[in-house]
Structure formats: C-alpha cells, structure tokens
C-alpha cells in the first residue's frame, strides 16, 4: 500500500427541499447514498469505508457516525465522522481523498447531510462561538457576513446592486439544476426590495435552510478507470481555519481562501487562475461573497470583483462560470453543501452536468466555507495528474 491518485467515480444527491417530512435523517442519507452507488454502478458491499458529517446541533443527535449506519451502510464497516461547521461537506471530501490516497481503502463513500428543518439554526450556530467572549454578542451567521460586506464596501465602493447581481446569477443558474431547492429567477429590484436582514444583506442575498444529503464515491487509481470512463481526478486539496475569535478576523478579505488557493496554485503550477480554471463551484453563502472571494482567489485584482460580475464573465456562457448549480443561495443543507460543491464540480469534469454543463471542463474548483471565516478548496481535473 502507498500513495495513490484518487478520482471521484460517482455522485448522488437528494432533491433538496425546505422540509422533508416523509423521511427521517437516516432515510434522507440513504437516498443520496443509493443514488451515488447507482451512478457508479456499485453496491454498498463494494464500499471499503465511509466518511460522514453534519453539524450535530442542527439535528440533535450525538455520535452521528454510529447512529447513521442503517442509512449510510456502515454496519460492519469502518465509518468515521468529520465536522468543521459550514465547511463540513468539503472537509469530508478532503477526508475521503486522504482515506483513499493513503492506500488504506480502495473505494470510500463520503456523505454530507443536514435536516435544517428540524432545529433552530441560529440557536444552534450561536453555540459555535466562544461562550465567554463572542457568544453573547454574536447574532447568527448573517451578522458575521454583514460585517465582511460592510468592510469591503467601505474600502472599494461596492454597492447593494453589485451584491444583488450575484444573487440574480445564481438564482438563474439554479433553474438548470433539478436538485436545487430554489428554482425561480429573481431580479435586482426584487433582491433590493426583499426584507433587510443585517445591513447590507437582504433576504434574497442569502441562502435558505434546506433538508438534503449528498454522497460522493472516491476510488483509487487502481480501480477508478474500471468503474467509470470519466473519472474526476482530485489534483490538490488545501484549507485554512484562519480564525477562532470574531475579533481576530480580517474583515473584507477572506484570508483563508486566499492562502488555501495560493497553496494549490503553487503546488500544481497554476499561474493565471482566470485562464486556467474552467468552472468554480464556490461555497458562497451570501451574494457579496461572490464579489469578494473571486478577488481572494486571484481571479481578478482587488476591487475589480463587481465589474467582473457585471460583465457576465461568471454567468453560464461566460469566460469563467461560477456556480452553474445555482450554488448555496439556491440551496443550503449545511453539512452537505460543501460536498454538493464538490459533487457539482465532479459532474462538470465528468460531463454529466446536464443542462448546467459548462463545455470543455478540464480544471474545476470546489470550495467550502464556514466556521470563523474558514475555507476548504479542492481542485478537480479531467486528466490524471502526474503527481
């Protein structure tokens, strides 16, 4: 056993909805798992290990890896839970990657899920922050994002209209995605007229709460090409948990995505990401992030994000489509969301993205976001990497 190259050979998702009263959590997980197995033409017996994650306090279940086995297929298998908050889905993808790359397991099933309808999301997420210093003044995830948007707008003169244009893009893209929760276009006016949640973030600037699950199967190079003719190779992964206390954050620039992306570009030899990356599935929990974080990714220079968005470059048919799936604004089952970005990037590389397919995808990026402004990144490639 030793270091192996790893590819995604199958993906599956539920049809994400605001509520899924017809299934409990395990049954929701099982839907995504069965779809991924079908996609890869494998059975649960073929799976060597399972990596699963969600955010415990959203479902109120302790030791979810153990509880899940009826639905995840983990009975008499190795199963392990990873969780890092909003980044959980991408953390899981990275976890699956290492489990296979290590040579310890040949085929690994990765599952991200959330049944947000079962809990008070804000009540739960508030407990993420330090109880002595931060928790009493933290008003839920949106307040942190609003702080970021305000800081950026103050520095670079962006406006609410710029943010709204991102929402318009993603909501339009979601119409091509049968799995997305929200599949109705919005206009800039509608975004600006929607209720203000935390200045400058309106309701339509931000993600919904969703019940959903996603499963991805990764396989080692020894078998990947026998499982599928179009494997999606994982070229590189990187992440940063930059901050712990809200007061430490560098508001207005996402340091974690900047550092993680530079690490990947350096490792792989990408000098002009704007030219070399074909599609990005960006974990973009609110609209302004779509402007700020493409600058941090090095796609466009600092302060030029809004201009790039307005030019249509990130729309379908543009130079560098972002979120052909509709992204997080159209659908957010939190523990699954980062994994959905990974699955969607895989579908792009594999040529299986249906109506949301971007043509000629060679390199794709999927990201995760969460925690205290943390980021995970995976680089996906059509060609088997040399390393």
């Amino acid at each position: 056993m030793g270091k192996k190259r790893v590819a995604i050979v199958g993906t599956g998702q539920t049809y994400h909805k605001s509520h899924r009263p017809d299934v409990n959590g395990q049954e929701l997980i099982n839907e995504a798992v069965q779809r991924a197995l079908t996609d890869a033409e494998l059975t649960i017996g073929d799976i060597d290990a399972i990596v699963i994650g969600n955010m415990d306090h959203f479902e109120g279940i302790n030791y979810v890896d153990c509880w899940s086995v009826d639905g995840s297929g983990g009975t008499m298998k190795p199963i392990i839970k990873l969780t890092t908050g909003g980044t959980t889905g991408s953390t899981l993808a990275i976890g699956g990657y290492h489990m296979v790359a290590s040579g310890m397991f040949e085929k690994v099933l990765i599952i991200g899920w959330e049944k947000n309808s079962e809990s008070d999301t804000t009540g739960a997420i508030t407990t993420a922050f330090d109880p002595i210093w931060d928790r009493l003044v933290f008003a839920g995830a949106i307040s942190g994002l609003a702080a970021e948007a305000q800081a950026y707008m103050a520095k670079y003169g962006a406006t609410e209209i710029d943010g709204a244009r991102v929402s318009v893009r993603d909501r339009k893209h979601a119409c091509n995605n049968p799995h997305a929760q929200l599949r109705k276009e919005v206009t800039i006016e509608e975004v600006l007229e929607s209720p203000m949640l935390a200045d400058p973030i309106h309701l339509l600037d931000v993600c919904p709460r969703t019940d959903g699950a996603c499963a991805v199967i990764m396989a080692s190079e020894d078998v990947a090409e026998t499982i599928t003719g179009t494997p999606d190779w994982i070229w590189a992964t990187a992440n940063r948990h930059k901050y712990t206390y809200l007061g430490d954050v560098n508001w207005g620039e996402l340091d974690s995505i900047a550092e993680a992306s530079r690490e990947i570009y350096a490792k792989v030899g990408i000098r002009e990401p704007r030219k070399e990356i074909d599609v990005i599935e960006l974990y973009q929990p609110y609209s302004f992030a779509g402007i700020i974080w493409i600058e941090d990714l090095g796609i466009v220079p600092r302060g030029k994000g809004a201009e790039y968005i307005h030019s249509g470059a990130t729309d379908m048919g543009g130079e560098l489509p972002v979120n052909p799936s509709g992204g997080v604004i159209a659908c957010n089952p939190i523990g699954a969301t980062g994994l959905i970005r990974c699955a969607e990037a895989a579908l792009q590389v594999m040529g299986k993205a249906g109506d949301r397919q971007v043509p000629d995808v060679n390199l794709a990026i999927s990201t995760g976001f969460g925690g205290c402004m943390w980021t995970d990144i995976l680089l996906h490639g059509k060609e088997k990497p040399d390393f």
């Binding site: 509520h19 017809d22 099982n30 109120g60 079962e118 008070d120």
Partner: protein, 152 residues
C-alpha cells in the same frame, strides 16, 4: 498557566444552550406509530433478501439496501434478551428510580425493541423471561403508547 494567576479565583460561567428540535419521523416510523396509537398493533418491515423482520421498522434494509415494502404485524409478546435496573436517579431518567429497561425480542421479529419493564419486582426479572406489551390508555403516536412490558 499558574504563576500570574495565583490567588485568583477561577471564573465559572454557568449557561444553558437552548436548541429546540422537532424530528421528522418519516413515513415509515409514521406508519408504525399510527398502528400503535390507533390499533394497538406493533408493526415491522421485512427484507425479502435477508429474510429479516425489523422492529422498529426500517424503510430500507441496513445490510443489503433493498427497499422493505412488506409490513408485518409482530406479536405483542416476546422474550427478554437483556435488562438493567437503573437504581441511581440518573439525569436522563424521565421517572423515579428504580427504572427497569429491557430489550424485548417480540415473536415474529428478528430484532429486539428497547423499552421499560414494569409490574414486576426487579428481583424477578431475568434474561429469557416472557413478557407482554401493556398499551397506554391514552396514546398519541409515540413509543410511550406502549406503557411497558410485563411478565406473561
């Protein structure tokens, strides 16, 4: 961590986190609880491939993943697989100790159901004894619709 803080009382900040939950039972559990509530029947689902009857019911078989579409009524009577008697008033107990918990394999089921034993002295409880479900007078579609299991 100690020198600069010698003589300083550690601060203890007491708090509770409040996160209310409503879990979707799903259609499969829903059917089980409706049968319990309305008909005083205990239902399981069976996997044709593995030839197993699951109580509580499962929508899909945990081992082979085939969809369990066959519903089976199992007997309200079964054999005690194991038990314990909580003597200390542990925080999770919803009623005063002693509380007897048991795993009961109902006739017709291949898995055991977790529940209470009552109307029996702790000393009389033993693995292998036959017990029968006593249904609650007022039932509202929860596992409490069975009040307890007691000796046959």
């Amino acid at each position: 961590m100690n020198e600069p803080f010698a003589g300083v009382e550690p601060m203890v900040y007491q708090s509770r986190i409040s996160v209310p939950y409503s879990w979707w039972a799903g259609d499969t559990a829903g059917k089980f609880f409706v049968a319990l509530r309305d008909e005083k029947k205990i239902m399981g689902t069976s996997c044709r491939s593995c030839n197993r009857v699951f109580v509580p019911p499962r929508k899909t078989c945990p081992t082979c993943f085939s969809e369990n579409t066959d519903w089976v009524e199992v007997a309200p009577e079964g054999t005690l697989q194991s038990f314990t008697i909580a003597r200390r008033q542990l925080a999770a107990l919803p009623k005063p100790a002693p509380v007897i918990f048991g795993l009961i394999k109902l006739d017709g089921a291949d898995t055991a159901l977790l529940h209470y034993l009552d109307e029996v002295t702790p000393e009389a409880v033993h693995i292998g004894m036959r017990v029968r479900a006593r249904f609650a007078e007022e039932r509202n579609g929860t596992i409490g619709d069975i009040a307890c299991f007691s000796p046959v």
